[in-house]
Structures are given as structure tokens and as C-alpha cells.
Assembly symmetry: C2
Homo-oligomer: 382 residues x 2
């Protein structure tokens, strides 16, 4: 926490838990009889409820996207640099809704929640949830908040997939979709990295087939490895080089297997910290949602045919050094939108930080994002 709250912060925020009693039918064929969603909101909903923006989170994200939970909190929400007064998603103009997705481990119903059928935590019995399922649950959330149509649905990475899916599942319930550093579907390499992460978790002897909670265990080693390999794919070769190069932790080679290079101890630290806070079953679920996302699948692999379902306008942004979801993947999506005669603005942002660039505003990224959201705000009755 800074000494005082910065003037462009949404300030102190409090999450709220919304309970949904209507059963949710999932893509897998299973049904969630009832569920909770943890939500934060920033800004004020206008009289005709037309200024609402939905933020969708990525793999390890959650509802706490902006502001501080307390004055003791060291860091603000995960997308604080883009959400706040005067920021690209301007909370002086928009009512911003951010949630923890179903299957998450930050308060919304997920593998760590109690299974009503057994009275124990779901663990591995929590159903696989897809991007489509998330969007359906978010539509129920919109109903609850009285939002018939979002001014925009916005997300980066896996969050961008949700914004895209909104445009297909509920074409009339959003006016804009902002799809950042995302892809219309994973490549074999993307799936392969997810599989390594999953295998690291499921092969950890502390995983107990997902029932680690019943054994008072945590598959920490597996989660750590999953995060380490994930983390490499979020950064660019160049940004890792710039940050660490071949810098040693001590002056000379020690000729051993302890962390010797700075990049090794950084990666270990990231992995260990993550393994202490994240749920392993949730990690499996989130990576599987990534794997399964493929809007063209229902249209004979014709992405343009899928996109012709959409009615909203799109902003698509990619980053030059993102090798996880390369600019070429965004272009594939944009080409399908153009072929389907949708309205789309696209920019590839030159930024050195790889996939993580979507979290770090650079002048051109900020300018384009701000200009687009300004246009969205101008359409809204203030």
C-alpha cells in the first residue's frame, strides 16, 4: 500500500458474494445445482443501466481487478493500471463489474467449495467448466445486477476468450467486445504446455487424485512446476534477457545445481509463492477451459461462420513479442470478423514484455484502449 490512496485509484473496495439458486447446465452435460459468484464493482451504474463494463479474468486471475481491499494491502488489484478514474476503463464514466469465475479458488464456487451432494469439498468432482459455461454464469450475474446489455465486455488472454464468447452466446447483450492478447483457439504447442502443467500437478504424490484436501495435503511441487513453466510462456525471451540475462546470484560459478543464475531463483520464487495460494484442481480446470475454447468447432471449423453470429463491435489488440498467443492468432480472428462483415478495430502493439504486456500499459496501448473506451462511453447516456 502507498502512504495514501493514489488519486487515480478506485480506492477501497469490498467484494460481495452473490448466491444463485437456479441450476446451471454445463457444456459437459453436468449441472451445478446452485453456486456463488464473488464480485467487485467500481464506479456507478447510470439510470438506464447502460454504462456497465464486464471484466473477465485470465488463468490465475480473480475478482479483485482494481483498488485495495484494505490500507494494508501491498498491491492493488491485478488490472489496476487499466481500471480507475481517468484510466482506459474510466470508472468516472463506467460501472465496472469484475468477478471470480466458477471453478476459481478465490470465493466463487469451485473445487474447494462444499459439494452439496456429499457435504465434503468438491475437489476433483467439481465439473469441468468451459468458457461458454462461464459466459452463461456471467449472464445470470448480469440479470441479477439488472444489466440487460453491457456497454462492453473486456478481457485479456483467457479473459479475451470470454469477451469473444459473449459476442456469440449473447449477441444482443453487449455493444462492444474488447479482446486483448487472446486467440480464437489454442495451438498444439499451447495445449502441450498446459499438459506439462497438468501432468506436473497430477503426478505429484500429494495430489491424491485431486482429493488432497481429504489427506490434509497440497500438491505444492506440482503447482510450483506448473507455474514455473507457465511463467516462462508469459514473458518474452527478450524481456527475460533484459531483466536477468545470465546474471549470477554470486560472483563466480559454484558448479552445482542450486540456483546459480538470477533467473533461476526468480522462477523458483514465483513458483513457490503461487503454490502457496492457488488451488491445484482450479489450475487443472482453468487450463482445460483454455484447451477446449474453439468457437469455430460448432461451425465446421469455419471461424467466419461463427463470427457471423456476433452483433457487437470489436477491439482486438495483440503484442509484438507475445509468443504464447502471437499477433498472427489475433489476425486470424480479425480476418474472420472481416469475412463475417463485423465491425472491428485491430492493432498490434509493439511491446517487449511478451504475453504479460496486456497487463502493462505502454503509451500506444493506453492511447488506443483509452480512445476506444472513450467512444464506448460517448454512446452511453451519462
Amino acid at each position: 500500500m502507498p502512504d495514501s490512496l493514489p488519486p487515480d485509484s478506485v480506492g477501497l473496495v469490498e467484494p460481495q458474494t452473490l448466491h444463485f439458486d437456479e441450476p446451471l447446465a454445463l457444456a459437459s452435460g453436468q449441472t451445478l445445482p446452485h453456486y456463488d459468484l464473488v464480485v467487485e464493482t467500481y464506479g456507478t451504474l447510470n439510470a438506464d443501466r447502460s454504462n456497465a463494463v464486464l471484466i473477465c479474468h485470465a488463468l490465475s486471475g480473480h475478482h479483485h481487478a482494481a483498488g485495495y481491499h484494505s490500507l494494508d494491502e501491498r498491491k492493488p488489484g491485478w488490472w489496476d493500471r487499466c481500471i480507475g478514474p481517468g484510466k482506459p476503463i474510466d470508472t468516472n464514466r463506467f460501472f465496472v463489474v469484475s468477478l471470480n469465475n466458477l471453478g476459481g479458488c478465490h470465493g466463487s464456487t469451485g473445487p474447494t467449495s462444499t459439494n452439496p451432494d456429499t457435504g465434503h469439498c468438491y475437489g476433483p468432482d467439481f465439473p469441468v467448466v468451459t468458457v461458454k459455461d462461464w459466459v452463461n454464469s456471467q449472464a445470470h450475474l448480469a440479470d441479477r445486477l439488472g444489466i440487460k446489455q453491457w456497454a462492453a465486455v473486456v478481457g485479456g488472454s483467457l479473459g479475451g476468450m470470454q469477451a469473444l464468447q459473449w459476442s456469440l452466446s449473447y449477441p444482443d447483450r453487449l455493444r462492444h467486445a474488447v479482446v486483448i492478447a487472446s486467440t480464437p483457439r489454442l495451438t498444439a504447442q499451447n495445449i502441450a504446455f498446459n499438459e506439462v502443467a497438468r501432468k506436473a500437478i497430477t503426478s505429484d504424490p500429494e495430489f491424491f487424485d485431486g482429493r488432497y484436501a481429504d489427506h490434509n495435503a497440497t500438491p505444492r511441487r506440482g503447482l510450483m512446476l506448473a507455474r514455473m513453466v507457465g511463467h516462462i510462456t508469459y514473458l518474452s525471451d527478450a524481456s527475460m534477457g533484459e531483466k536477468f540475462g545470465r546474471e549470477l546470484r554470486e560472483e563466480a560459478y559454484k558448479f552445482g545445481y542450486d540456483a546459480e543464475f538470477q533467473v533461476e531463483s526468480y522462477l523458483r520464487y514465483q513458483g513457490e509463492r503461487f503454490s502457496e495460494t492457488f488451488d491445484a484442481n482450479t489450475y487443472l480446470l482453468m487450463t482445460r477451459a483454455l484447451d477446449y475454447f474453439d468457437p469455430a468447432y460448432d461451425y465446421d471449423n469455419n471461424l467466419a461462420a461463427a463470427m457471423s453470429q456476433a452483433r457487437c463491435e470489436f477491439l482486438v489488440l495483440s503484442f509484438s513479442t507475445d509468443w504464447r498467443f502471437t499477433p498472427a492468432r489475433s489476425e486470424e480472428l480479425v480476418n474472420a470478423m472481416i469475412a463475417a462483415r463485423r465491425k472491428v478495430s485491430y492493432a498490434e502493439i509493439d511491446a517487449p514484455w511478451g504475453h504479460d504486456a496486456f497487463l502493462i500499459p505502454t503509451p500506444r496501448y493506453e492511447d488506443i484502449f483509452t480512445a476506444y473506451m472513450d467512444r464506448v462511453a460517448r454512446e452511453v447516456q451519462q
Copy 2:
């Protein structure tokens, strides 16, 4: 094994074990009192012993580079496509020497060998070995074979580092160095991937601080994960896409965490097979040798100053889709050679297979490699 030995095969070959009684001083400050090297040779050494070519292997390689050990062997040696009668390294003209490096797990002295100090296997007490150490041991091997000067030292990836190190450690003992799909030093991202692999192994409860043999255990899960993540970095995004795409194992999504996509089961299979045959301590050692390799380090990070030690001619080859050791890294090396006024031929080969492309001859690769080695052979008294 094919029904009959192909005419361009070196045929049936037999490895031999050479024992070295002279102690070998290592870069780490430790000394190996004596050691064995397992070696295969193909072709005939000419009268003045001037037609010898040394093959250096990569991370998981070994001495069996060409031909068959028996008529029952399913596959020939790992570089059979480049070594044999009429192949780029033409065994009608060259006497080819291929060894398993020190620290390996295919017969040369390494972590699985008996430690003369204890009577038990070395395990984690086997000293860290560097590329420089390997080249020193290979120089003793050359002495033993009566080879004062190699016609060429040839290697891909980590093998290319050894070829490069030969030119610096023993400038007068080789006439050509062929450095394929290699790099003058690892990037932070390269080290990071190695660290994930090592952490997968060392965090496996069956690792027992490297003393798994004493516990009748094997850190199979760790080795499997290490290989899975390594394997992804050997292939290109495009070649994985071409080979597997998003192809499913069964007709429809099963909505679970078992292998669902073809690429998942392929990767699991590769990892499992590797974990049954490779030694974990050797894997640590090989990846550390990669990390430490940095010829510029001794010259105030000036690679050109390092290269000015060399006397041989160089062929440097890189592959367009190799994202592990990109063409840019080879160009860095070539630029340093040019700055040091060395003779160097360089080509970037357009090939879709990523880092693995060095094992797979394409017409242009084969043509350039063959033409260069033909020039090397023409300098030799046949």
C-alpha cells in the same frame, strides 16, 4: 531393423570402452582420478591419420550415432541420416569417431558409475562437468587414437558448443568446426527451461537428493516432466500444429483431464519412454553444462576476442523455425567470427521442424553440409 541393411548404412557396429588412467582436472576444481569413454567408429583411418571426424552429441545423445548394434535393432544410431557411405559425413572418406560424453548414462563414466572412493555409485557426488571438460577428455581420446588433428569436429546443439570449444581450447588440433543449431551461450529463457526440468527432477520425492539408486528408486515423474518440457522446445509451434493440430483422440470432448488431444498423449508417451531409459543425475549434469557454456565469459564478455583464439575454419548452420537456439544466436556467433577475421561459412536453413531440424536432412541442409564436408575431405590425403 529393416529386412536387410540399407546400402548407405555403416552397417553393424560395436561400441568399445576405452579406459583412461590419467586424472582429469575439471573446471569445477574437482578431479576425476580415472574414467572410461565408450566410443564407436565408422570408416577407416587413413595412413597419415588426417581423415578423422569427431561427432559430439547433444543433451540426451550418446556414442551410437550411426549403423545398427544388431539385426534386431529397430532404429539406427541417432544421426544415421547424416553419417554413412555417400551421406554428408561420408564414411567412405572419413574415419568417424563418436563417443558418449563424461557424465553420460550410456557407458562412459558418469553418475551411475562406481565411485572409486566409496565403492558405491557416484550419484550426486559425480562432479559437474562442463563443455571445456568434455573437450579435454575428447583430446585424451584423440591422443589414444593417435589423432593429432581432426579433419573436423562436428556437432548440433550442445554438440555444436563442443565443436566451438575445440576451436578455442585446441586451436591447432582441428581444421574445421561444424556448429549446427547451436548458440554461443544460453539466454535467460533457455536457462529458465533447464531450471524447470531440473526442479521437476529434484523435487520428485523419488529423487532422494540424487541417491535414488541407494533407495532402489527412480525419479521417473520428474524425468518425464523434464523431457516433456524439453520436447516442446525442440519442436516448432508450426510442426506441432502440422503433426497434431487440435486433433482429438476420440470423436468428441470427454470433459476431463485424461489425454484428450493427440498432442497430450504423444507428449506423455515421449516423457514416459525417456524416463525409463535416462539417468536423472545425468540429465541435471547435461543441462548444467548447457547453462555454463559461455566462451566470451573469459574474455570480458567479448565473443570476438574469444573467437580470435581459433585457427580452424567454420561452418555454422541454423534453422529458421528453431526458437530454442534461434538463427539470431548463430548470427551473433558468426558476427564475432567475422570480427575476429576467422573463415566462416554460414547458412540459415528454411525448415519447419524447429530445433530438431538438425537431425532431419532437408535438401538445402544436406547440400550445404555435403558440399562443406566434401571440401574437408578433398584436403585430406585419401
